[in-house]
Structures are given as structure tokens and as C-alpha cells.
């Protein structure tokens, strides 16, 4: 009886182990190991071969001395190239700038929306939030595409401005930084509204009543009560927008001009046009370095939220 019991409890533990092990191994293989490979290849040399990079380790056999040695070749010129070439540095700075502006625009549009929804009648909040998330379920590419027709010369905005007599000829907004801002704000808006709404909705409305009772005017109450309490939502939403925006590729490629340099585009071009895999890897590593701190903050918040859920 006791033997059976201990056997079964061991099976229970074993079952648990399997449940953890399967996703764990999957992520190790398909998430962690790939980064190590990228890191490794960023030290390789670009060669014309299949695959187009040099091997880092070489097993050299010396037939005369009857010895062999393992040689590790680390090539750091890729990183020197990144540091030395204005193109890369500009692309980095520009990526961070565009991501920051996008985050700010998302916050400006998203905060009042989230606040208004959180203040709405409880029965209407669900449908209103649904309306914010709904576009997310349609294709991202299609949503970017929609803006091409609106922003291009002779497009909807251009025609509207001309019809209203504000401008005399077609206005081209497409292929500029502004087109990228608009497109990225459009795509990332739900990621900002969602965490903002969930912190604002949880806020106790009697706090504002108490503030009013103590003589605080509505706007003052907003600044001194609502805003500080919604800070976790602001941080979470901003990270959710900023981190992927820095590495964004599709929006600048479709809406940006040739001079809208972003690091994601540089990486893509190094890889697909120049077929220089080692430099593309070095660019990826450098991009990760920029994002390490924001990602760690994001994970910290995410972890705390999961704990609080309990």
C-alpha cells in the first residue's frame, strides 16, 4: 500500500516535470539557442558560400607534427563597422526617436480614450474596449496599406485639403517620417489603451470623491490622484509600444521615405540585399543591447502582475 502510494506520488511529480519540460525545452531550443547563434555569427566573416559565413571554430590538423589543434576565430570587425559608419549610428538614433515619438503619440491619443472608457457606464465598457481591440484582429499589413491611400499625393487627405481650399495642389505626406508616426501610432494604439484601461478601471472612484470633498478641483484631482495611480499602466503601455517599435520594419518600409532610416530596415537590407549575415547578426545584437533594459523592466512588471493576479 505505501509502496504503491509513493510510486503514484512519484508519477505525479513526474507528470509535473513533463508539463514544465516540454515548453521549457521548446523555448530553450527555439528562443535561447538562436540568440547564442546570432551572437556567435556576429563574430564571423561574410564569405561567398552556403551558408554565407565563416566558421568560428576550426580543427587544424598538422600532418607533419601529427598534432591537431582547435582554433577559434573571432572577428570583431562587424562591430567596428557598426560603430564607425554614420549610417548605422543614424539608424539607431532615428529608430529610438521614431519609437519615442510613436510612444508619446499613442499616450496622447490613448490615455483620454482609456480614461473615457473607464469612466463610462459599466455595461458599455466591454463593447467600447472591444471596439479598440477589434482592428487588431484584422491584418496589420492591411491597416498600414489603408494609410497609403489616405496619405499619398492625390490621396484622401490631399484631396480634402485641396477641396477645402487650404492647399492648391496635391500634398504628399506619404514617404516621410510623419507618415511613419501616423502608421505606427495607428498600429500600436491598442497596446497602449489596454494596460491603461485596466489600471484606470481598477481605480476606486471614491478616491476622486474624497479629493473633491477635501476641496480639490477636478483637474487638480486628476493630476494629483488619477495620474500617479495610473503610472503602472502608463509604463506598461509605453514599453509595450516602445520596444517593438524600435525594431519595426514593415511600417517604415511601406510608409517611410528612402531617408527614413530605422534599424529594422538596416538589418533587413543587410540580410536580404547584401546577404551579409554576420553584419545583420551584429546589428541584431546591437539592437538587443538598446532594448535589454526596457525588456527587463517589462518582464519585471509582467511578473509582478502575474503574482498580483493570484
Amino acid at each position: 500500500m505505501t509502496a504503491l502510494v509513493s510510486l503514484l506520488s512519484r508519477v505525479g511529480l513526474w507528470g509535473r516535470g513533463v508539463v514544465v519540460a516540454i515548453p521549457y525545452l521548446w523555448l530553450l531550443l527555439f528562443f535561447l539557442v538562436p540568440f547564442l547563434i546570432v551572437f556567435g555569427i556576429s563574430f564571423a566573416e561574410s564569405i561567398i558560400a552556403q551558408p554565407p559565413y565563416s566558421s568560428l571554430v576550426e580543427w587544424q590538423v598538422d600532418p607533419d607534427a601529427d598534432t591537431s589543434k582547435l582554433q577559434i576565430l573571432l572577428n570583431i570587425t562587424n562591430y567596428f563597422r557598426l560603430a564607425g559608419d554614420d549610417l548605422y549610428i543614424l539608424a539607431y538614433l532615428n529608430s529610438v526617436k521614431i519609437a519615442l515619438v510613436t510612444t508619446l503619440l499613442c499616450l496622447l491619443v490613448g490615455y483620454p480614450m482609456a480614461y473615457a472608457i473607464a469612466k463610462a457606464d459599466p455595461a458599455r465598457r466591454g463593447p467600447l474596449m472591444m471596439l479598440v481591440i477589434l482592428p487588431f484582429w484584422t491584418s496589420f499589413l492591411i491597416r498600414i496599406y489603408a494609410w497609403i491611400g489616405i496619405l499619398k499625393g492625390n490621396g484622401v487627405i490631399s484631396n480634402l485639403l485641396e477641396w477645402a481650399g487650404i492647399t492648391s495642389g496635391p500634398v504628399e505626406i506619404l514617404y516621410s517620417d510623419w507618415a511613419v508616426y501616423i502608421g505606427m501610432t495607428y498600429c500600436y494604439l491598442p497596446f497602449m489603451v489596454l494596460p491603461l484601461y485596466s489600471t484606470l478601471e481598477k481605480m476606486d472612484p471614491t478616491l476622486l470623491e474624497a479629493a473633491a470633498d477635501l476641496g480639490s478641483r477636478p483637474f487638480k484631482s486628476f493630476l494629483s490622484i488619477t495620474l500617479p495611480l495610473s503610472l503602472p499602466g502608463i509604463v506598461a503601455g509605453s514599453l509595450l509600444v516602445f520596444i517593438p517599435a524600435v525594431g519595426e520594419f514593415v511600417t517604415p518600409e511601406l510608409l517611410g521615405g528612402p531617408d527614413t532610416l530605422m534599424i529594422g530596415r538596416v538589418l533587413w537590407n543587410e540580410f536580404f540585399s547584401n546577404r551579409d549575415w554576420p553584419v545583420a547578426s551584429a546589428v541584431a545584437i546591437a539592437l538587443l543591447l538598446v532594448l535589454v533594459v526596457p525588456i527587463m523592466i517589462f518582464q519585471h512588471i509582467q511578473g509582478k502582475q502575474a503574482e498580483a493576479g493570484k
Binding site: 505505501t2 502510494v5 509513493s6 503514484l8 506520488s9 505525479g12
Partner: protein, 387 residues
């Protein structure tokens, strides 16, 4: 003789019978979570057919102890025996124990019947028998007509009874109840207390109840273990716990009490005489735990054991000038209907709490604010506390 212990056992209680083996034996059990010691070297013996209460505030370790009995937590050290079997390594689904959860934990996607039948189905009981036993249980908790309902279609009291039926249907020898009445309102709670005791006596099951409500523990249980910071402060019958607390903590946790600090003047057998500046008189205590002369002690006296009068009472044994009698001024009166609470300030500054039944109508109340009154108590009223 007045003032004798009320409890006169008609038969030998199991915990007093050396021939009885305890049904649940907890031996020096310790449970730590990281640095936090939730349960600290607790030993307890609980006997068949007991209605045993674990009483304590939040963080006292009572729920952790219960969860170790159910098998959801493993003791860090020590052993637990149920019916003589060591429970180490035995998972919850192999234990002869059932539990009623504080949140009731009714499966929301199953009907009342399916909830109650769940435990029997795990044991592979025949369908017909499951039907009969579920019907019988629902009858016992007076929910026969509600079998097809889902939990969210029931009121709080009904859910509580479904949870009880579900935990009883497997006929466990031991039922663990985690705050069984915590989610009910006051009226319903009082009614359900009696129902629980009736069911326990009818089915002859050992109950271990975790509660933070002292009144609940007092009315229902055969014995109470008062827990504090992971340690058992005292185990005893409700009367013992109330009338003879061993420590200041127990005395203050159960009901309200007046404490007088003092020093032992004379100890004669189980009679102890204590001098207390705070009380403004000497205190004579009969049936006290012996304490050597000169040692510092506290004397605890329950508010209802103190007699409040305008004139010193005459003809009481052990009560006299400067002994078990002091005077003070009434500062506050709280009228609670059946009793009134008086806060009386002694010349020493100490405030004493006295409760007196409202035998007469309030309009004829003889004692009022700022009256000078005499407080007196018999030698059996006080308890000497050394710790």
C-alpha cells in the same frame, strides 16, 4: 458551593482516558515557508468523535496546520498520524480525510448533484449507489429539490450546505472545515452552528474546524486549541479556555478580561494572596496555579465576575476590607440590552470593565455616571497568570 467549576463530567472524556488512542496525532510538526515559520513544533492529539476547533487570528498557523492534515502541504519537520498511519508522502487523494473549503470551492461547471457525486465517482462507486447516496446527503442538508441547479443559482447558505454534503458523502472518518461559517451573515451563522453540531453527532465523524471567531469555537466544539504565531497557546474545553486561561494571550484573546499586575504575598496550597497596587487591594485567589511568594504575576478577572454595588456587600467569604474589594468612579456605561458594560476608574488610574445583567428596567437603574461604586469579587473569580 458557589464558584466551583461548572463542568462536571458525566463520563470520562476521551482525552482524559489513558486507554484511548488518539485518532489524529500531530507530533512536533513544523512548517516553514522560506524564512517564515508558519507552524512551530506543534503537537496535538485529537480523538474520535471530537468536534475540535483550531482558534486563532490571521497568520496564527491554523490554516497551514489544517492544510497539512489534508495533504496540501507537507510538514517541514515532524509527523502526522491519522488512525495510526503515518501520512508522510501520502497525497490528498489517498487520505481518508475530506475538507470543506472556506470558499466552498464548488465546481461551477457541474450541477449540485454532480458536485456531490464527484468524490464517489473518483472511487468508482456503482451508479445506482451514487444516486442513492447523493440523494441521502442532499436530504440531510435539506437541498433535495436543488440537485439540478448550478452553484451560481444558489444562495450563500445553500452553497455552504452543498459544500458540506460534498465533503460528507464519502463518509470520511475525519472532516476538516476551513472557516465553515465565515461567508454567512450573522443570523444564518448562528442557525448553521447548531446544524453542524447536529450533523456531526448524527454521523459520528471527527470534525476539525479552523476559525477566527471565538464565539463560534465556544458554542460548537468539544475542545479548542488556541494558536498564536504558529504555536499552540492552550488546549482545553471551552470552559477551561474561558475560565482557566494559562497565558495572558489566551485570557485576552477569548472575551474581555481585567488584568491586575502584582506580586505574590503568600501561597498556601492552591490559595494564593497577591498584592496589587493597580487594584488598590489584596487579591485572594482560590484554586490557583501555585506560585512562590514574591514572584510577579498577573491576576485576570472576567468582567461578569465582578459585582458592582453602591454599598459594600456584606457576608461574602474571602471578601472584606482591603481584600477582593476596591472602589472607583463610573466613567462610561454602555447599554447592550441584555447586559450593560461599566468602565470604572480606580483611584490608582486603572480602568476596570464590569458587566452586569439588566435584571431591572433601565429607568430604575440605580448606578449612573460619576457614581462612586464598590467592586468586589469572590476568591474563585480570579486566575493567576505567571506568563
Amino acid at each position: 458551593m458557589a464558584g466551583q467549576p461548572i463542568r462536571k463530567p458525566t463520563r470520562l472524556e476521551p482525552w482524559q482516558d489513558p486507554g484511548q488512542a488518539p485518532y489524529v496525532r500531530i507530533e512536533k510538526v513544523t512548517k516553514t515557508f522560506g524564512d517564515f515559520v508558519a507552524v512551530d513544533e506543534v503537537s496535538l492529539s485529537i480523538y474520535r468523535n471530537e468536534f475540535f476547533a483550531l482558534l486563532g487570528g490571521s497568520g496564527s498557523g491554523k490554516t497551514t496546520l489544517l492544510r497539512m492534515l489534508a495533504g496540501f502541504e507537507q510538514p517541514t519537520e515532524g509527523k502526522i498520524f491519522i488512525d495510526g498511519v503515518d501520512m508522510a508522502g501520502i497525497p490528498p487523494y489517498e487520505r481518508p480525510v475530506n475538507m470543506m473549503f472556506q470558499s466552498y470551492a464548488l465546481f461551477p461547471h457541474m450541477t449540485v448533484e454532480q458536485n456531490v457525486a464527484f468524490g464517489l465517482r473518483q472511487d468508482g462507486v456503482a451508479k445506482a449507489e451514487i444516486r442513492d447516496r447523493v440523494e441521502e446527503m442532499l436530504g440531510l442538508v435539506q437541498l433535495a429539490a436543488f440537485g439540478k441547479r448550478r452553484p451560481h443559482q444558489l444562495s450563500g447558505g445553500q452553497r455552504q450546505r452543498v459544500a458540506l454534503a460534498r465533503s460528507l458523502v464519502k463518509r470520511p472518518k475525519l472532516l476538516l472545515l476551513d472557516e465553515p461559517l465565515g461567508a454567512l451573515d450573522k443570523k444564518l451563522r448562528e442557525r448553521t452552528q447548531f446544524e453542524l453540531v447536529n450533523i456531526q453527532e448524527k454521523l459520528g465523524i471527527t470534525f476539525i474546524v479552523v476559525t477566527h471567531d471565538q464565539e463560534e469555537a465556544m458554542t460548537m466544539s468539544s475542545r479548542i486549541a488556541v494558536m498564536n504565531h504558529g504555536v499552540i497557546a492552550q488546549v482545553g474545553t471551552p470552559t477551561e479556555i474561558y475560565e482557566y486561561p494559562h497565558t495572558r494571550f489566551v485570557a485576552e484573546f477569548i472575551g474581555s478580561i481585567n488584568m491586575f499586575d502584582g506580586r505574590v504575598v503568600e501561597a498556601n496550597g492552591d490559595q494564593v494572596l497577591v498584592a496589587s497596587e493597580e487594584a488598590g487591594c489584596e487579591l485572594l485567589i482560590a484554586h490557583a496555579t501555585p506560585a512562590p511568594a514574591g514572584s510577579p504575576v498577573s491576576v485576570a478577572i472576567r468582567p461578569e465576575k465582578i459585582l458592582l454595588s453602591k454599598e459594600p456587600p456584606a457576608g461574602e467569604t474571602g471578601v472584606g476590607e482591603g481584600r477582593n474589594r476596591t472602589t472607583g468612579i463610573v466613567r462610561e456605561i454602555a447599554y447592550l440590552g441584555d447586559v450593560s458594560i461599566y468602565l470604572v476608574q480606580l483611584p490608582t488610574g486603572k480602568t476596570v470593565r464590569v458587566t452586569a445583567p439588566n435584571v431591572t428596567r433601565r429607568t430604575e437603574m440605580p448606578i449612573t455616571w460619576e457614581d462612586e461604586v464598590t467592586l468586589s469579587w469572590r476568591p474563585f473569580a480570579g486566575v493567576v497568570l505567571t506568563q
